[in-house]
């Protein structure tokens, strides 16, 4: 196998494994549009990276983190509905990123690779980011798992039972922002959310518990990456979108499959 294909596969699998559990929380907490908004700000991160001569991934991570904080704070006001606010941030930051890049005369970027990912151009340094950053995000998520689950089920109940709700929520948003920034390279800013939610949504029917669903989502994400990359290599299609198409195919196949597990109406008696 060629080096660049191997790197692409490793990057894709790494991202898919991280996306499974995070995507599950995105689905449970209905944060799909939130993730999308973070992803849209990535171009601004690229511009920031060029401007300050930073590593571009680092630029994206920084901008995503800042946006997560802004979103969290602005959602405390009650004047505008949450989705309106997210729409403003998403398209505002995307356009701002495009305009900022246009101002930089000596910078030429391949816009498509940012919009739809450039997994075949993954460099060894990107792999370090994905496995280092992704590993960190995943480890912290495992650490926060139980309080986060309690908050997801009922925030007030968790608070009364002594969970540091605000701190856990902040940490979770930071981790989501990091994950989104890392996924950018693989599927691009327009498709990040799909890799978060499609595997998780597919896994739901076959899951008896939250952990099972998270692990299954990771596995399904890996299948989608493998299938998408194979398709891309075989038919010379763009890699990022091919991965998402593969995820969608698995989703549809899973719907046609009888679930049999967990969602059944039977009740075990003790």
């Amino acid at each position: 196998m060629d080096d660049f294909l191997l790197r692409a596969l490793l990057a894709g699998l790494g991202v898919a494994v991280v996306a499974g559990p995070f995507g599950s929380f995105v689905v449970w907490r209905r944060l799909a549009y939130f993730g999308d908004t973070l992803a849209h700000s990535a171009l601004l991160g690229v511009a920031l990276g060029f401007l300050l001569h930073l590593n571009l991934t680092l630029g994206i991570v920084i901008v995503c983190q800042v946006l997560a904080v802004l979103l969290f704070l602005s959602q405390r006001q009650r004047q505008l509905a949450g989705d309106t606010l997210l729409g403003i941030f998403a398209h505002g930051s995307l356009s701002l990123g495009l305009v900022a890049l246009a101002f930089m005369e000596d910078v030429r970027v391949d816009l498509l690779s940012y919009l739809f990912g450039d997994i075949l151009a993954i460099a060894p340094a990107d792999l370090v980011w994905i496995f280092g950053g992704g590993g960190l995000a995943l480890a912290l998520l495992v650490w926060l798992w139980k309080p986060l689950l309690a908050i997801t089920i009922h925030e007030d109940l968790a608070r009364v039972e002594g969970v540091a709700v605000d701190r856990v929520n902040w940490a979770f948003l930071g981790l989501i922002a990091l994950t989104v920034a890392l996924m950018m390279k693989v599927v691009g800013l327009l498709l990040v959310t799909s890799l978060l939610i499609i595997p998780a949504a597919t896994a739901r029917r076959f899951s008896s518990g939250p952990e099972v669903m998270a692990a299954l989502a990771s596995l399904i994400g890996c299948l989608a990456v493998g299938g998408g990359l194979y398709g891309s290599w075989r038919w010379d299609t763009p890699a990022g979108p091919s991965i998402v198409v593969a995820a969608c195919v698995i989703f549809v196949l899973a719907i046609l499959l009888p679930s049999g597990l967990s969602t059944g109406k039977e009740r075990r008696r003790t």
């Binding site: 449970w28 109940l157 518990g209 003790t270």
Partner: protein
């Protein structure tokens, strides 16, 4: 019931809460003592749930003070718990979130609330009554001195409502914990509470169920028709309550 200062678990002193210009609570003073069942009743929008949330420390009052006995263990049963259907969760896992516990701890609590057969059921398959019982079990897992219940019989049929209130009374009798609850169901709650607090942003009247139903403030709040019906119901549910109790004891 006479109480020394130490017996006070929760006390509101002149509590007020305004959001913008809207006054939601105004000069509310009330006390919940050890082992006491205090029920908040009042029309929709009277601030019952808000007062409960202030008592739990989830909301900060804009005026007045809330006293909680130090080291008070509180068990909370929220008004409605709607789990996102995408989240697969069994009752066992749900209860485990209150602290890691095995079946040997979970089963007795579920048995206490009469829901032991749902331990491994998916959360989404629970009936209204089972859901309330499971929520109650989660609150009891904390071995509370004070149970705070927000509309504990919501989404339960009438027969089930009476049973739930009897269950709450039995839990109080057995564990000696105080109960502070919200209900807008007047007649069922009358038989299972020591003290009723009529709330309509401020405390309209308070006292034993019998005293409150005779209070002009209560009549004004709920109208004479409701009060008349209540007299009938109160008698009726008292009767049923005793019968059930015998069944259980026998």
């Amino acid at each position: 019931m006479k109480q020394s200062a130490n017996d006070t678990l929760l006390e509101f002193s002149g509590v007020g809460l305004s959001v913008g210009r809207r006054e939601i609570l105004k000069e509310v003073s009330l006390k919940v003592g050890r082992g006491e069942v205090v029920t908040l009743i009042g029309p929709n929008g009277a601030g019952k749930t808000t007062l409960l949330r202030v008592g739990l420390g989830l909301l900060r009052p804009t005026e007045g003070e809330v006293y909680l006995r130090p080291d008070l263990r509180t068990g909370y049963m929220p008004q409605r718990l709607q789990l996102d259907p995408t989240l697969p969760l069994t009752v066992r896992r749900f209860l485990g979130l209150a602290g890691s516990r095995g079946s040997e701890e979970l089963l007795p609590i579920l048995r206490e609330v009469g829901a032991e057969r749902v331990l491994d059921s998916p959360f989404g398959n629970l009936s209204g009554g089972e859901l309330q019982r499971v929520l109650l079990a989660r609150a009891l897992l904390r071995e509370p001195d004070l149970l705070v219940l927000d509309e504990p019989v919501q989404g339960v049929d009438v027969q089930g409502q009476a049973e739930l209130f009897q269950l709450i009374t039995r839990i109080r009798d057995r564990r000696g914990c105080a109960v502070f609850m919200v209900s807008h169901d007047l007649h069922l709650v009358m038989a299972s509470t020591d003290r009723v607090v009529c709330l309509n942003r401020h405390v309209c009247c308070t006292g034993s169920p019998e005293a409150v139903t005779a209070d002009p403030g209560f009549v004004e709040l709920f109208g004479p028709l409701v009060v008349q019906n209540l007299a009938l119901y109160a008698h009726d549910s008292e009767h049923r309550h005793n019968k059930k109790q015998e069944d259980f004891d026998g």
